[in-house]
């Protein structure tokens, strides 16, 4: 396999999926966010968001915790240290690939 394709194959599939990319993009810009905010910012249904968060949690990318707020239970989500590093590495890899095949490069 040529080098660019090798790097493409190395992309973290767990992070690269569009919905999970949006979730991690939001989480990397804050300390933590609650479930409703992530639902709003990604446009996912509660069931879909739960499913993606479970995958990210199982992969060690995010940490999900419950917090009591009066009589309600709030769900807060944050990137783990490993998750933050994985997201940053993912974007570094995408930036490296961009000049080789990203928008703006003339096709031959």
């Amino acid at each position: 396999m040529s080098e660019p394709f090798q790097e493409l194959a190395n992309l973290d599939k767990l992070v690269h999926e569009p919905a999970r990319l949006a979730i991690t993009a939001a989480l990397e810009s804050c300390g933590e966010a609650d479930f409703l905010y992530l639902q709003r910012v990604t446009g996912l249904s509660p069931g879909n968001l739960s499913s993606h968060l479970t995958k990210l949690e199982n992969g060690g990318i995010v940490q999900v915790r419950k917090e009591l707020a009066g009589k309600r239970t709030e769900t807060w989500i944050q990137l783990t240290a490993k998750g933050r590093e994985a997201v940053m590495e993912h974007w570094r890899l995408l930036e490296r690939l961009r000049p080789r095949g990203g928008p703006g490069r003339p096709s031959r």
Binding site: A22, A25, A26, E28, S29, A33, L36, Y37, V41, T42
Partner: protein
Amino acid sequence: MQSHSMPDLERVRFVTAHYEMLQGLVVLPLLTVLGVLFVVDPRSGSQGDAVIWWGMATAGLMAALAAIPVLSGYYRRRYGAVRAQREQGRSALVTTGVVFAAVAVLHKFTPALPFSPEAVAVGAGVLMAGRRLRPLAPPFLLTGVALIVGGLLPFQGVGHPLSDLSILLGVCCGAAVLLGVWSHLLLRRVLGGNESGE
């Protein structure tokens, strides 16, 4: 699921990082009341008018302060909550303080001129802030240019109106109201598309 392009993700990052600052409606009533207090002079009417004016001003301020937690709750219920990674807005507050301190010094030591160096300085500060906060650039640009042009327009009389600090502060409150509305609309554009959470 919305499909997210790169610019969308940039917007998601910006809105998340500045979520608290973008809750523009929270401070809108307070800024409006303060703007009116700065611009309207209670000494222009009779003593009875001044008493009524101060009563209304106090009531307005109390109502505006009481509205803050109510409006914060609205954002939390509608769009959720975010905790910042680090203390956000401290540098913005320090910069605003420095700009206003510089303007106060400028005001103190500049003689009455046909133009307003105070308004030009605030306008330049506003334009610089707009460069840093790109998604909020339009209201910053509008306000910055308006202040610079208004400050440079020669005024026949004793001192330029925008060199009167209470008028300048009133104009700044008006600009902050515009910024608050724009911030709210930006938040709605990014977070308001999906109504499934309601």
